[in-house]
Amino acid sequence: MTTSDDAVAILSVEAPPAARRRPGWRLALPVGLLAVPMLAFLTYFFFYPALGLLLSSIQTQDSRGIIGRPFTLAHYARLINVELYARVLWTTLRISIITSALATVLAYPVALVMVKSRPMVTRIITLIVIAPLIVSVVVRGYGWQLVLQNGPKGMLNWILMTLHVVDAPISVLYTEVAVVIGSLHVFFPMMVLPLASALGKIDPNLEDAARMLGAPWWRVFLRVTLPLSMPGFVAGFTLVFSLTAGSFVIPAILGGASAVMLGNLIEQQIFVVYDWPFGAAIAVVLVGLVLAVNGVSMWLLEGRRLRRPD
């Protein structure tokens, strides 16, 4: 068992392996009752509010700010039909997909090295990957603001200009690129950890067998390692996509006006425009997006549809 696996036990959404169940001694009261306080709490402060938000999204707000009848789907239509808002939806999708895809490509080598290296290397990589996870997102966004700072005094521009890669400072801050970079930094661990966990579970004998039968390293990777690590990939992609799509801080700090995402639009509708039904409708769309991706991922993982047919 490596440190990375322990971390996954805490961080990943994937359930731990089912323990052996055997009939134990019976308690006087059913032990299931111990879940009641938590259930009641979450029902009242999570489930019920979520339904309330769903209801508001199809209601109308009058001039005094009171939300009620008539029911309408106008808020959803507005999100899709008004170009300003539709663009935010597309920006969110684009940034989330690009971030998850980049995270996959870059996390794979890191996870491989993490799993297959000597314990000391594994430990250091695990610490570096996990440590930033616990640093506030605001601080990390600020760090990237400093790195990407426009003008010759920013770190990236200073490096690029000192190395004569560019002659004049480039402008990355307050673009979608900056938001992708920031999101990648924030959610990278969410991709590495499930991947490392999946890679750690692969029987090394399978790879050895392929090698002994004469397969070159890239073939071993493509035909054995990659297919067997697909569950980790699916879990990681889902996590990174969901978290990026629902982010607020990173686009607010790094995106400025040119990369507004759904989270920022919701905040603006509630706190600036005070349009609760429209804010609620955007929130419902965001939840729908995230749940859809999670649903597909669960379907892929549980149905064992990831096994190669041949």
């Binding site: 323990a19 509010p49 600020y142 609760w276």
Partner: protein, 267 residues
Amino acid sequence: MDERFSGFGAFILYTITAGMMLFILAPLLLVMAVSVSDSYFVTFPPQGFTLKWYAKVLQDRDFLEAMRLSILLALGTTAGSLLFGVPAAFALVRGRFFGLAAIKGFLLSPLIFPALVTGLALLQVLTKLGSQDARLNLLIGHVVVTSPYVIRTVVTSLQLVDENLEDAARTLGANRLTTFWRVTLPQIASGVAAGGLFAFMVSFDNYPVTMWLANSEYSPVPLVLMRQLVNVFDPSVPAMSTIIILMAMVGVLLLEKLVGLRRALAA
């Protein structure tokens, strides 16, 4: 390095890995370097050395107030999520009742729900209820988002408890409470501690729920920092950020130490 990787493939793997380590550390190291640099405007490379921004931050009433609020809130959240989460984890592992899987899914669902929406929905309900104490509202919101973490870690460690030891204690005459206290709890202690520590850290850094439930009187650290960062340029921001980074490092080392007690957590 390792016989599994060789030639060009190994070169690519190690290059990308080293690059990503640099990518992860660069912004954090830059913040720390800037926090001790002696110029009002942030420039690269950082100039001079001073601790005056730290002196300024440690006298900043808003920041200290926010720090106090955040720590108290995180402590309360830890207590709350353990209080609700640990018994729930017991029910999930030891209980046999109809709909167990569905209930487990429900209890863990705040994890996949966008936290931003969780906070907004809660704000709507709390406003309708007339609950105006931001501290209480924040506590409720934070317990909603942190309790699934506690449930998951405690479930993992409970599944590894050897029930034979409990049976033995019972056979030898210990009552249920004693059995729990002397036999079960020591076996799940590190799982409970790791879950609690995680709840503390998630609460301390939480932004997407906090942004809805805080007000101008009660603003936790992430909100105060964001306000300083977006509205006014203030050279004490890097110093505040560094303090937060260092606190997080302590947290990570603690967690690593707890998680390092692997036997109890993940076998």
